[in-house]
Symmetry: C2
């Protein structure tokens, strides 16, 4: 059985590691985080080590999962000084963060140059699915590398989909999040206006659910927007980032997507107001009268 | 059994009349349309008459359904010269068009002044549901008037909901359409970008359907956007109008809803380009490379 390490043990990465170790019996040989106390705490919980350097993480494992915050963090761990690719020939990296497709391609090429395999595994799921091994995983990279790691990816997921060459999974993921974010903004505007008009919000949500206004985010975020329960599952800061990735992709192919731009601006507005840590449902703080401003 | 007339026999009104007459056995005593040939044709089909004046329509019936295009058309038939309210004491009007809440209130008050009853019946459904009597109807007006006409409204609908005083159903309906239109614009942007990136659109639609990007409009409009099948069920011109009603409501309560504004601008852009007669799915003509512009 392969020795597995995790780099980036926030809510998602830590729960993936817990699932593989506690539920599936995999050997977790190292965990690492820029927030060292998180790594030390998880290492104690899982009976493993939290090395101080990325080189030690690579040395300790055959298969390294990374779940970092953004493109800059990804470049730091793979392309910065003392990075994961040192002495990484024969190792496999599976990168799970939602990043720009271009960064996945950069890291893939850097890995190839030193004999390491690199996959992307875009996740369209949240924290509880990570813990339960029921993630929705979209894989980009070489198909043979995907196949040789399919077992552990299946153990993490309930739905595993090969999307194509490196970067393609990130493209699909950015589209999912772009559409999800717009639908979320739409719902926040609809419920905010309903509230301002004095309508019964339970009635309005029920009508939405039975008509052309229905959406997955109505199920996941509708109550939270009304109740102002913005405990973070998917942060507004991440929403701003992902809508921005989609906007950059659109610009790269010469497309103008004004509804995504308006949605991105709303999520960036949240970050600017210090609301970026709220769940994406927190966008309702901008659209209900008497909240936010 | 009440004698029933219809004013405005476009696709929706004509099919409601067909259902009541052909499937339920109601007596349709007059039909009227500004496009007189439509009224004459339907009158022949249903064995009724197509009077030349609105006064004759009112005289011929106890219960008059109206399904007109917009606020101006509504004011013309109820407040203009030779309107439906002449000698209308004791008659009941059920107004089914998607209009601004304010116009419903104006017509209600004008009716009360001459002893006529006025309900609004906002429809969150399309043509086939009109023909089959499976509309989603939201009623505004006096509850006693609703109750005394409940049987025929049930015969037209599969879901009948009393929303409150006159205007409240139009408010809920405008919210439904605002959210639906934004979700439609979101889908068109997502699929247009996916296409420009060279992704497999069947795969992308399936991923959307299984993730936070899922929505009712993905089911109803996803294939049509890809196939450019924009046969009109709900026109882009109507979408522009309804997003505008929601924008006016938002302005009236001092709310800024930027994602609705961006969506409204897209649908108004379609109208300006002569694409207003396309189904709302036609918004994809603006977001797929090489279409539209």
């Amino acid at each position: 059985m392969k020795k597995i390490a995790f780099v980036g043990v926030g809510r998602m990465g830590a729960n993936m590691a817990r699932h593989l170790k506690l539920d599936c019996g995999y050997e977790i040989t190292a965990v690492y985080d820029v927030n060292r106390s998180s790594a030390v705490s998880l290492a104690e919980e899982l009976g493993t080590v939290a090395p101080e350097t990325l080189a030690e993480v690579t040395a300790a494992a055959d298969l390294i999962f990374t779940v970092v915050t953004n493109d800059d963090a990804m470049r730091a761990i793979f392309l910065g000084e003392g990075n994961l690719l040192e002495n990484s020939s024969g190792k496999t990296f599976v990168n799970c963060a939602t990043l720009s497709p271009g960064v996945h391609r950069e890291v893939y090429q850097a890995g190839k140059a030193v004999g390491a395999e690199v996959l992307e595994a875009a996740m369209a799921s949240s924290i509880s699915q990570a813990r339960e091994g029921t993630l929705y995983l979209m894989i980009g990279g070489e198909e043979s590398v995907f196949t040789s790691n399919q077992k552990v990816l299946e153990d993490l997921s309930v739905n595993l989909r090969y999307c194509g060459e490196i970067g393609k999974a990130a493209e699909v993921k950015s589209l999912v999040n772009m559409v999800m974010n717009i639908n979320t903004a739409a719902l926040a505007e609809g419920l905010g206006l309903a509230d301002a008009l004095g309508l019964d919000l339970a009635m309005v949500r029920e009508v939405f659910s039975q008509t052309g206004a229905n959406s997955r985010v109505l199920e996941t975020d509708g109550d939270d927007m009304v109740d102002r329960d913005h405990e973070c599952w998917f942060s507004s800061e991440h929403a701003a980032k992902d809508s921005g990735i989609a906007a950059d992709l659109a610009a790269s192919v010469g497309l103008n997507l004004p509804v995504n731009e308006a949605t991105r601006a709303q999520y960036e507005n949240m970050v600017a107001r210090g609301l970026g840590d709220l769940d994406k449902s927190g966008i309702a703080e901008l659209t209900f009268k008497g909240r936010g401003s």
